[in-house]
């Protein structure tokens, strides 16, 4: 399931609890700053074998934004 994998990668980089990662959680609030964000994007691309284009990044604010984008690029 995409959400679970995304939550795992966010948890690893933000050092937060996995139960704190909810679809509506904002990445900045979870502790993902801009430097950690590029690492999260890299790990997502590796995990899902996709390319996340730069132009999608400004619209990523919450965890569900990532899940939606991944579902989009995946299909």
């Amino acid at each position: 399931m995409i959400f679970n994998k995304v939550a795992q990668i966010i948890t690893k980089n933000a050092h937060c609890k996995i139960e704190d990662v909810k679809p509506e959680s904002e990445l900045m609030t979870l502790g993902i700053d801009s430097l950690k964000a590029i690492t999260v994007l890299f790990e997502l691309e590796e995990a899902f074998d996709v390319e996340i284009p730069n132009e999608l990044i400004p619209s990523i604010v919450t965890v569900s934004d990532i899940v939606d984008k991944l579902e989009g690029v995946h299909h």
């Binding site: 690893k12 050092h15 430097l35 590029i38 690492t39 994007l41 890299f42 691309e45 590796e46 390319e51």
Partner: protein, 402 residues
């Protein structure tokens, strides 16, 4: 007014281990940290002074490791030791200090990881912090971040004289009054496979051990590690009651503008003379020279001839040793590690030997402290670095009670 420069802290990471004490115990007993490398069918280089049982995951966090190349890790470990050894009691001192770290080989470990991913594994992307991890200056900026230092921070590169050039830069800043304290030294981690293949092609690395000044010498042995010293103005050190190891009394820098690998005798002799003049030391006052002593035919002969030229009749009275025979040639870290070896020789009254010196070379006819350490008082000492590209740096130390 020019401030005098004292050495008040030492930190070494070497093939002997992660501490200055392990380093000194090793070289002061004539032990060898050059050991077999993991077997590889395609490498003619079989030995090197690698760090024993090094585990980066035990020393750094998972957040830090993506931006810390091995050469920056070693720089941090040496700098932390040096700062701890200097026993600063207030935060302001470190906050305003300088950090100048030399490096020769660059971030070859990161380069190899990146090239492996793109060229060999054919992955479409590399880790996003590869740029940060691979910056040459990370050897200094990482120390600044780890120790909270906000003064002048940068790296220098001059091949195997990098550490000495960094030490001189820090010394000049203190002399000019720009800073009271400077953390200076060098670091290198030259064991990635591709870099070893490049060294192999140059045919300057010995296939067994490093035997400087021995007639049967076959070349250098590579080592990895870092050396960092705390330099401090005399006033600042005395005001806070610091332990002063020695005075960095003088130095000189030059370039051969000649052969790209073989030291030019006249040029390196001139550099040694200039360093003595800069220190206000007469040549007959020098007790010990920590030689560049790489173990190549050309370096050891040229250095011996230059020592004769500088010291004349006194040359044969001076103890000369190459500690590279024990800790290997740590490239950009060598001159810093060797200055620390020299400082410790002065403080312990023990001259570390040149090991593996088994066959007399009639052209290398000085006292090389062959094979066994020597208990001898050292009040004035010189440390030489003659790098590829013809870049030379010579440092002169004296005890503080002189």
């Amino acid at each position: 007014m020019s401030h005098r420069v004292m050495i008040t802290g030492l930190g070494v990471v070497s093939g002997f281990g992660l501490t200055t004490d392990e380093f000194w115990q090793g070289i002061s007993h004539g032990r060898c940290a050059i050991r077999p490398l993991p077997p590889h069918d395609d490498l003619k280089i079989k030995v090197g002074a690698t760090l024993p049982d090094y585990d980066e995951e035990k020393l750094f966090t998972s957040d830090e490791l993506p931006y810390l190349d091995r050469f920056a890790q070693l720089s941090i470990l040496a700098a932390e030791q040096a700062a701890s050894d200097a026993k600063f009691t207030d935060d302001e001192t470190l906050l305003n200090a300088a950090v100048i770290i030399g490096n020769a080989a660059g971030s070859k470990n990161t380069d190899e990881e990146v090239y492996e991913k793109i060229h060999k594994s054919k992955r479409p992307r590399v880790h996003p912090l590869a740029i940060i991890k691979g910056m040459h200056s990370s050897v200094a900026s990482s120390v600044s971040r780890h120790l909270g230092i906000q003064g002048p921070v940068f790296s220098v590169s001059s091949a195997c004289a990098s550490g000495a050039h960094a030490i001189i830069q820090g010394s000049m800043m203190i002399q000019q009054g720009l800073v009271d304290v400077a953390l200076v030294g060098g670091t290198d981690a030259p064991f990635p496979y591709v870099l070893l293949k490049a060294w192999e092609a140059m045919r300057v690395v010995s296939d067994d051990v490093c035997r400087p000044f021995s007639k049967d010498r076959k070349g250098m042995s590579l080592g990895e590690g870092a050396g960092v010293l705390v330099l401090e103005s005399e006033e600042h050190a005395k005001q806070r009651g610091a332990n002063i190891y020695a005075e960095l009394a003088g130095y000189a820098m030059s370039a051969d503008a000649g052969h790209i690998t073989r030291p030019e005798v006249n040029s390196i002799a001139k550099t040694m003379k200039n360093a003595l003049n800069n220190a206000g030391i007469r040549s007959e006052e020098v007790d010990y020279v920590n030689a560049h002593g790489t173990g190549t035919q050309s370096n050891d002969l040229a250095e011996t001839q230059a020592l004769h030229q500088v010291f004349g009749k006194h040359a044969k009275d001076i103890a000369v040793s190459s500690t590279k025979s024990m800790h290997g040639h740590v490239l950009g870290a060598s001159s810093a590690i060797e200055l620390i070896a020299t400082v410790l020789a002065m403080n312990n009254g023990v001259i570390p030997p040149t090991i593996n010196l088994t066959e007399t070379d009639e052209l290398c006819d000085l006292d090389y402290v062959a094979n066994v350490p020597r208990h001898q008082k050292v009040e004035v000492a010189m440390s030489n670095s003659f790098a590829f590209g013809g870049l030379n740096a010579v440092l002169v130390l004296k005890t503080i009670d002189r």
